[in-house]
Symmetry: C2
Subunit: 363 residues, 2 copies
């Protein structure tokens, strides 16, 4: 199973929003097949393991070997048709005798059904081998299925006095180049980047992962914008020029929007941030990186919707008229203040990076 | 000399404002005497080394042994009468042949004179053995003599949004107990603690080092207060009840002040913070720990008078009406922002501690 987990990790960021899955096939104490889920839409790990076996031994011998063999899979085999046929069918077809899965699939459409189907077909199934580890490699995927919304990472680059820009908007750059490079790595690991419309108008960022950071085929994270005011200036807007989908939540439908990769989702006056995130969960986004600006940071913190807070603190002081990173309503007493738990911290370039999680963190 | 430096360190915090000094006496490759400066007002290292020798060998044999011996001293022997007679005289009297000192004494009254007197009396003197190390153990002492003012450490305990208290003044406690214990260690290493009059009125702190932290005989740091408004309430004021001297800088002389350990230093309207620090340098304070409040933090930062900034950041958010830690005038452009250099950082309890120094740091 350890080998299957290592294989799963090869899938890296290409499988989003699918989980990373690995599969090892064993017969007479020898590995006869191995595979992992390589990219979204492609074959699942089990199917790749069968293909490996057939390629290595030829169809006739492989068929013989596979019959009565044991499969180690990091996640419950799927029981549904999605982009590919259900893996349970393949396992049954090849006459696999034993299936060890590290954990059940949290997806409600599967969750236990895969195991049930296998058992009904006379296969011995055991669930739970290295379960914790297997879950941890797909943390955000499990989170989304359990909570019905994406895992929210929030990244703030601020000064010692907790400012993110001068009053004239200048914010390039508060933190050092190494910190900004580090953010690129975080972007790569998230399904989408969320900002407010004001940030688009003010900074007109690309919100992309630079070419030198990602591998050639790795997809760019989607962009999510709360508010549509920036669409009036769509000819200049850099996020609309990229290849990644841009999802805009807005009270008004903008007729300006004509770009192919733009999705507008109308919201009502009563729509909460929580509602918006649930909607994004339905769009199969496992994780979102919230990148600004001040109003967005404040709303997410105010509503306790930040699961992980990544703070880069630059040892500078921006002064009193500069823009606060977070500006929530104060607690009545100190013990009522919103709290995080520091999880890790490190020097990055000239700055310090602090990773925090919610106190009542996801288990 | 390494041995002499190790000895010097035994003097720890009891020698303030004197430097820590160690001395080793060698004859025929054997150590015949060793001593260190134990406490302010007591014998200097050289004299203690002679005493050690006499105690060990008896007066007659010691006199014989000392004649023609070599002394290793971590600091230039003093040439002036202060609390004790000059050490140069003792070295001459006992007929020491060679003196190695790690560094010159930065005190302008000595600085090279000790060496000169020894040389004039036929003693071979060499300066510079392990100089850097010897200077580093008395960093603040050297700083004061070179710059004419104490080394300024500033400690701030703040939230993620850089607040030090709620708007109602509640600040107990933003950081965890381990962080507050850690501050006790910093207090112990400083000659004085400085706060604003407002902090005394608001929090009425002791500003003491707790008994369990310091050794029985270690002195409490002096207290310095900028402003005298708190003296109107002197019956309640805790810092006036302690044993340590309280130095108050104020534009008005307060007739309320009758306590024995209170010193009032009048200042003019034109007196700058820099002037005040020079005055404290004359009071032989090598280092000052600035502990609050917001106005004091702001003034020191605004005037570039913070040599070391120690920040404890608690992973809490205090919100918008709460009190800012530092509130200086903003720079016109971002590259003009005041900067520190991160020197070290660590987790302390639930918080993170960041130690920063001025970019143009003392060499």
């Amino acid at each position: 199973m350890q080998e299957a987990i290592s294989l799963a990790l090869k899938g890296s960021f290409n499988v989003h929003p699918n989980p990373k899955v690995g599969c090892i096939l064993v017969k007479n104490n020898e590995i006869i097949g191995k595979g992992y889920h390589k990219e979204y839409g492609g074959h699942h790990a089990e199917v790749n393991a069968f293909k490996y076996c057939i390629k290595k031994y030829g169809k006739a011998k492989a068929t013989k070997l596979l019959f009565g063999s044991t499969a180690y899979v990091t996640l419950e085999p799927c029981s549904i048709f999605s982009k590919t046929p259900p893996c349970t069918s393949s396992l049954i077809k090849y006459g696999i005798k034993n299936v060890f899965c590290a954990s059940l699939d949290p997806n409600k459409k599967i969750n236990g059904n895969g195991v049930k189907i296998l058992k009904e077909n006379g296969i011995n199934v055991e669930v739970g081998l290295l379960e914790k580890k297997a879950i941890s490699i797909n943390h955000d995927f499990f989170f989304r299925h359990k909570k019905g919304r994406p895992f929210i990472r929030m990244k703030i680059a601020q000064s010692l006095d907790a400012k993110i820009a001068l009053s004239n908007g200048e914010s390039k750059w508060i933190t050092s180049k190494k910190s900004r490079d580090d953010v690129q790595q975080i972007r790569l690991a998230c399904d989408a980047i969320l900002v407010g419309s004001g940030t688009i108008l003010k900074d007109n960022p690309r919100l992309d992962v630079r070419k030198n950071i990602r591998n050639l085929n790795e997809r760019q994270p989607k962009k999510i914008v709360l508010g549509s005011s920036f669409l009036k200036r769509q000819n200049d807007i850099k996020i609309l020029k990229g290849t990644a989908e841009v999802i805009v939540f807005s009270k008004e439908f903008s007729s300006y929007a004509k770009e192919g990769n733009l999705i507008q989702i109308p919201i009502k006056k009563s729509t909460t941030l929580q509602d918006t995130l649930k909607e994004l969960g339905k769009h199969e986004l496992n994780s979102i990186l919230v990148e600004g600006g001040s109003k967005i940071f404040t709303s997410f913190i105010q509503e306790d919707l930040v699961d992980e807070l990544i703070l880069y603190i630059s040892p500078k002081i921006l002064g009193k008229e500069s823009i606060d990173s977070i500006s929530i309503e104060p607690p009545i007493i100190l013990s009522g203040a919103k709290k995080f738990k520091i999880y890790d911290s490190m020097l990055v370039g000239d700055d310090i990076k602090i990773i925090m999680r919610k106190k009542n963190k996801y288990k």
